[in-house]
């Protein structure tokens, strides 16, 4: 055997280089985690605008009782697509995208563990989105069975249109993407940390991404198999979920929520991560109780897979099942409460700079606590019997997903924009964006709590003129218009700041995690030299050699 024989032929062609100007190809063909991360952010913002317009059309239809601005069929397509878009094509890929961009930088790595898998994950999201939106062009329009697609409504003969088929196929594609991202993140975080970056020193955002990634690889296969069964039912005449042919309507709900409830934590845990980065930096203090913020995340992750049937209290599962799921759901309030109190304690005694990221993070605490508390209330079975499937639920989950996830996303964009682009975002426009968001958001959703307990079911294209229903809905619609204006201000801010924003230094916020040691924007190879990691805040240790974090930083040993 000759050891001189090359195993791989020598490459004589020069490889495509990012240094050459190849236009769009440098993006489309990229396997660089930063470019892929930015593409995630751009595509999710496009979907955010589309999903927002769908919501705005619905709110206009509901402005007054018995309006006929849009037809019932179109209304049903709009709320189905709004929910699907916001969950699968906005919040989830946005948070994964920030993770793809930030995780390697935060742990001092060169890239993700599997760069090409990373690109595949991104492009599958785009593909899934196109597949689902393409259904608008089919004869019978987009899916119209609601984002949780309860069977047998989503089955033949009740949905003979093609929408639900496109929907299941598109989401199957994004499901593959999510599992791939989850694996990629786990391997990256477990194996590619820079020397000194032990698991007890990784930034909390990385902890949250790690727990989220485990949730992704555990729960996405549940829904992916349910989608496959639904497609078999719809296309090949199987009967998994059709009671008329011996299937079970409730089985779909177990599969759906077996994925769907952990999904809620997939949508919020990375948001917690962003908040856990922003609050310490702008309070000029380390996070209070690092171990407890990280540990409570693991607890939430574990509990979240055992609470799905709290979405099904009205189904008639019996007292024993209902009480178990009620108790398990309430337990989640404990680790979540621990987190909120740790954020508040981080701010306590700090010297707080209320720049736009911190404004969003501070408002996040209050809005999220609102959504969290209504969540604890509806974990109580009898209260759930009153409010489930009413506008109270719509209010509750928008407080969690807009007041929570979206506020954190905005905090994250304002915080990391200088790192992404090398320019600061405008603080003036940022403050406009913030206040319009707070006013518009609360105006839209707060009144919906009352509409719900007064008897307004969700997903209704119109309503009778019951006392105060018209005026409350009008308030909500005006709020939605203000919220839409806030998004325009945000987009304007991004546009203006990209071109004319103040040049950002490498570390404009004087933050402490490794991504701020790279240049703004980071070089292709991320770091020339990764700073030494001797604690959780490497850049603090560099700036304050007289007062290093360790050994004092550990609350428990």
């Amino acid at each position: 055997m000759s050891s001189r024989l090359p195993l791989v032929p020598e490459n004589t062609e020069p490889l495509p280089s990012l240094k050459e100007n190849q236009g769009m190809l440098t993006w489309v063909a990229s396997v660089d985690h930063k470019q892929i991360g930015l593409m995630y952010l751009i595509i999710t913002m496009v979907f955010f605008v589309v999903g927002g317009l769908e919501a705005l059309l619905m709110r206009i239809q509901l402005a007054q009782p018995e309006m006929s601005f849009i037809s019932p069929e179109v209304y049903n397509q709009l709320f189905t697509m709004h929910g699907t878009t916001m969950i699968f094509f906005v919040v989830m890929p946005f948070l994964i995208g920030v993770g793809v961009y930030m995780v390697p930088l935060m742990i001092g790595a060169r890239d993700m563990a599997f760069p090409r898998l990373n690109a595949l994950s991104f492009w599958l999201i785009v593909f899934g989105g196109i597949l689902i939106y393409y259904s608008f062009l089919t004869q019978s329009g987009a899916p119209d069975m609601g984002w949780f697609a309860y069977s047998p409504l989503s089955e033949k003969p009740f949905s003979l249109n093609k929408g639900p088929t496109y929907w299941a196929l598109g989401l199957l594609a994004t499901g593959i993407s999510s599992v791939a991202s989850g694996l990629n993140n786990i391997v990256t975080i477990l194996t590619m940390r820079t020397p000194g970056m032990s698991m007890r020193r990784i930034p909390l955002f990385v902890w949250m991404i790690l727990v989220t990634s485990f949730l992704l690889i555990f729960v996405i296969p549940i829904i992916a198999s349910a989608f496959a069964m639904m497609l078999l039912d719809r296309l090949l005449g199987a009967a998994f979920f059709t009671p008329a042919h011996g299937g079970s309507a409730i089985l779909w709900q177990h599969f759906f929520w077996g994925f769907g409830h952990p999904e809620v934590y997939i949508l919020i845990l990375p948001a917690f991560g962003i908040i856990s980065e922003v609050i310490p930096v702008f309070s000029r203090k380390p996070i209070f109780g690092y171990e407890f913020v990280a540990g409570s995340t693991v607890a939430i992750g574990l509990l979240s897979v055992g609470v799905w049937a709290h979405h099904m209290f009205a189904v008639g599962l019996g007292d024993v099942a209902n009480l178990y799921f009620s108790f398990a759901s309430m337990l989640i309030a404990i680790p979540t409460g621990v987190k909120v109190l740790n954020w508040v304690a981080t701010m306590w005694g700090g010297k707080i700079i209320f720049a736009t990221p911190m404004l969003f993070a501070t408002a996040f605490i209050i809005e999220f606590v609102m959504g969290g508390l209504t969540g604890v209330a509806i974990a109580s079975v009898p209260i759930d019997w009153v409010v489930t499937d009413s506008y109270f639920i719509v209010a509750h989950f928008h407080y969690v997903l807009y007041g929570g996830s979206m506020f954190a996303i905005f905090a994250g964009v304002y915080y990391w924009f200088p790192k992404f682009t090398g320019r600061m975002m405008s603080e003036t426009l940022g403050k406009w964006h913030f206040w319009l968001t707070v006013i518009g958001f609360n105006m839209t959703f707060f009144v919906q709590h009352f509409l719900g307990v007064m008897g307004m079911p969700r997903r209704t294209y119109t309503y009778h003129d019951f006392p105060y229903w018209g005026s409350m809905n009008l308030i909500s619609t005006i709020g939605a218009i203000v919220l839409a204006a806030s998004v325009l201000v945000f987009i304007w801010n991004v546009q203006v700041s990209l071109r004319r924003g103040k040049k950002a230094s490498n570390n404009p916020w004087h933050a402490w995690t490794l991504e701020w040691a790279a240049s703004s924007p980071p070089a292709v190879h991320n770091f020339d030299l990764v700073p030494p990691v001797r604690g959780r805040r490497p850049l603090w240790d560099l700036a304050h050699p007289e007062q290093p974090d360790e050994p004092n930083a550990k609350v428990i040993d």
Partner: protein
């Protein structure tokens, strides 16, 4: 000031128990929210960095004792909430205890079929009950999942195909209680309304007596023409009228439509003029409804309206 509905107007012992539990829970959560909001606002005022201040604050990494305290306090709150839940469940949803149902409620896309098991009365969308008396309903669905919800009387319950559920229905006082389907069920989910009419025992008995009468079929005049059209124009393929060959269960039983307050599961009030409009084009008032526009001529519509009005 008009009266607020739903939770703000509990009209059955079940709903009162529910409202009580909700108010306790809201009180607890409002206190927690107030503490957090107060703390955040205090921090905003007290710990704002002044531009001149260049010093970093004291670097505090946490406190094991505080973590233990604020883990145990939520544990206690959760325990209280859970006990309240357990205590209220039986009061809100009394057990069936082997009773036979008095009522069968069947969800259809997009109306409710109501069958009284003792008297044999079959009607739609408007549920008559004697005030103060508990009626056990078996809730079913014939097509997709629906949900029976009368906000002032109690809990929601899903109508699941292949999985019957049971619900005790009671109204403390006579009156009309409005409800609706609460589980998204397709195009006209918004117009699948429920009207519970609670009346005195005598009125209820009287209503039941009227409902089981088999009305004579008119043979002559406009109503007689309407009766013939009802048979010939495919109305009978979906609807039942007692005493005739029309016995289908796809649409509501129309034998005593006269006795009902609304048409189309709450879309229109039941007057001859509205019935005329509805028959001319039901899709205009309930787009997507399974009742097609039968393209009847105005004369035909008038005859069928006369027939349905004549049934007594």
């Amino acid at each position: 000031m008009e009266k607020l509905g739903g939770l703000f107007n509990p009209s059955s012992p079940e709903m009162e128990a529910l409202a009580g539990l909700t108010y306790y829970t809201i009180a607890i959560t409002v206190v927690i929210l107030a503490i957090i909001v107060f703390a955040v606002f205090y921090i905003i005022v007290r710990y704002r960095k002044s531009p001149a201040d260049k010093e970093e604050p004291y670097q505090n990494f946490g406190s094991l004792n505080l973590e233990i305290v604020w883990t145990l306090i939520p544990c206690a709150i959760v325990a209280v909430l859970f006990l309240l839940t357990c205590n209220t469940m039986k009061a809100v949803d009394p057990p069936v205890d082997g009773h036979e149902p008095d009522l069968i409620i069947i969800g259809h896309q997009w109306w409710w079929e109501l069958r009284y098991t003792k008297s044999g009365v079959i009607t739609a969308n408007e549920l008559h009950i004697p005030a103060g008396k508990y009626m056990l309903a078996r809730v079913e669905s014939i097509d997709v999942i629906h949900d029976f919800w009368v906000p002032e009387l109690g809990r929601k319950i899903d109508a699941v195909p292949g999985h019957p559920n049971y619900l005790w229905i009671v109204a403390g006082q006579p009156g009309i209680y409005l409800g609706a389907c609460a589980e998204f069920c397709g195009a006209q989910h918004a117009n699948m309304r429920i009207r519970v009419i609670a009346e005195s025992e005598e009125e209820f008995k009287e209503w039941e007596k009227q409902e089981i009468v088999i009305p004579p079929t008119p043979r002559s005049g406009l109503a007689g023409e309407g009766a013939r059209l009802f048979q010939n124009k495919a109305c009978m393929n979906c609807h039942t009228i007692l005493g005739t060959a029309a016995a289908a269960r796809v649409g509501p039983n129309l034998t005593h439509l006269n006795n009902r307050q609304t048409i189309g599961a709450g879309v229109l009030t039941n007057t001859p003029e509205n019935l005329n409009k509805w028959l001319t084009n039901p899709q205009k008032y309930k787009q997507g409804s399974l009742m097609p526009n039968m393209k009847l001529s105005p004369a035909e519509v008038e005859a069928i309206v006369a027939y349905l009005e004549a049934l007594k």
